[in-house]
Amino acid sequence: MSCDWILSAQAGRVLTLTLNRPDARNALSTDCLEQLVLRLEQADGDESVGCVVITGSARFFAAGADLRELQQQDVAATLTDRRPQVWQRFSAFSKPIVAAVNGYALGAGCELALASDVVICGESARFGLPEITLGLMPGAGGTQRLIRSVGKSLAYQMVLSGEAIDARRALQAGLVSEVCVDALTLETAQRLAARIGAQAPLALRAAKAALKQAQESALAPGLIAERQLFTVLAGTEDRREGIAAFFDKRSPEFKGR
């Protein structure tokens, strides 16, 4: 499949994927989303990739799903839609994802940011789930992930009114971890991704799995899972290298073993 809608560039261990549908305000049609996921799946098996950055344009991260697509779907077609599986494959990606958001992240675009691991945004960023204004509702994690990051009242407000919030509000609420000058958003995200990508690959994978677990289970099983993942890492070469390098006051050289 050609990947016209996703530009891809790798620098060091950081793979940057750029949503590139300028005519459609980077709307996430199923094909576009699938192209993104295919890129991620290639990166999952690629040892040279340590961390992925997903970004859009200066004015749009992604302004929603493709409404024409939705318009044509009745109940039966929606029931058999392959889109949920594509989102599941996105969630299954095992390496860290940093979303770099400038401009609008609405609907599916907001859900894409929510499904990413870290969100860095520019001052111009707007996050919103306007699905309700179209007589529908978020269908790709919007009602589930938003409430876990921003809390009950704001999540209800956003989902039920469809109104977007700005970057400052998103930072206060915990939807994003850092706000920067627009012109530096991508660079800031890439710098963070480079730092993440330089860490031991197996440790990253285990840590991400543990963090995901935190949203999916209660505390007690989460703590057990965390301890198991922690124990698994005790058997890795990189763990010995990491601690040895710390005592030798040098940079570690991780091998992913």
């Binding site: 920067c180 000058v181 012109a183 530096l184």
Partner: protein, 259 residues
């Protein structure tokens, strides 16, 4: 209701309802918003100059547009603020180019706030500034209650806002509300010359300076130091920075292109 004129990189916007002291109605807001689009989108515009036609600068909201008869529903002034005045002030303060205000006469209510929102304010000696809201039971809007204490200090802000007295151009200058006062017949020339000078300067860098100074009003020193680092990083990558440094070493006049 809004005259636009572009010359030598300067977009001049003239509020043009002289018989109503250039007071705002909805249509003038719409036209002003259209004109601001040019300032925002056209790269060849490198400075914005705002002034008023006739003897006044801007008398704020046109009260003829306000129906307050008891048998009808009261107008929602908040809606008008949200729809027209707030976006206007936000657009002027976030425009990444210098905005000069030539205050040719009385600037009252939102008209005064509009002037305070601009980057460099030059007033005719016959101009005056009034926060007239208090006389109608209203609150300084369009950023008036934010700009005033920052520009003039709390005591003077309270005096102006609670009494609604007219403040002369000289007084405004002494208080730090504005940059300069000139004779009425010199106002147009002086402001146009200044605007044309700014339009030859490193516009991108000037936009960064504006951003930094505006942000300083709410940032802590720590946040501001971080912002300065980021903006300097951007400024250092501009073509104009390279041109400025090479012109300095070559001992020649730099030719800035605003990028």
């Amino acid at each position: 209701m809004i005259l636009t004129h572009v010359e030598a990189g300067v977009l001049t916007l003239t509020l043009n309802r002289p018989d109503r002291l250039n007071s705002f109605n909805d249509e003038m807001h719409r036209q002003l918003a259209e004109a601001l689009k040019i300032a925002e989108r056209d790269d060849s515009v490198r400075c914005l100059l705002i002034t008023g036609a006739g003897r006044g600068f801007c008398a704020g909201q046109d009260l003829n547009d306000r129906n307050v008869s008891v048998d009808q529903e009261t107008p929602d002034l908040g809606l008008s603020v949200e729809r027209f005045y707030n976006p206007l002030i936000r657009r002027i303060t976030s425009l990444p180019k210098p905005v000069i205000c030539a205050v040719n006469g009385v600037a009252a209510g939102a008209g005064a706030a509009l002037a305070f929102a601009c980057d460099i304010v030059i007033a005719s000696s016959s101009a005056s500034f009034i926060q007239s809201f208090c006389r109608l039971g209203l609150v300084p809007d369009s950023g008036g209650s934010w700009f005033l204490p920052r520009l003039a200090g709390r005591a003077r802000a309270m005096g102006m806002a609670l009494l609604g007295d007219k403040v002369s151009a000289e007084q405004a200058l002494a208080w730090g509300l504005i940059w300069q006062v000139v004779e009425p017949e010199q106002l147009a020339d002086k402001t146009q010359t200044l605007a044309q000078h700014l339009a030859t300067q490193p516009t991108y860098g000037l936009g960064l300076i504006k951003k930094a100074i505006n942000a300083s009003a709410t940032n802590t020193l720590d946040q501001q130091l971080d912002l300065e680092r980021d903006l300097q990083r951007l400024g250092g990558r501009s073509d104009d920075y390279r041109e400025g440094v090479s012109a300095f070493f070559a001992k020649r006049q730099p030719e800035f292109r605003g990028k």
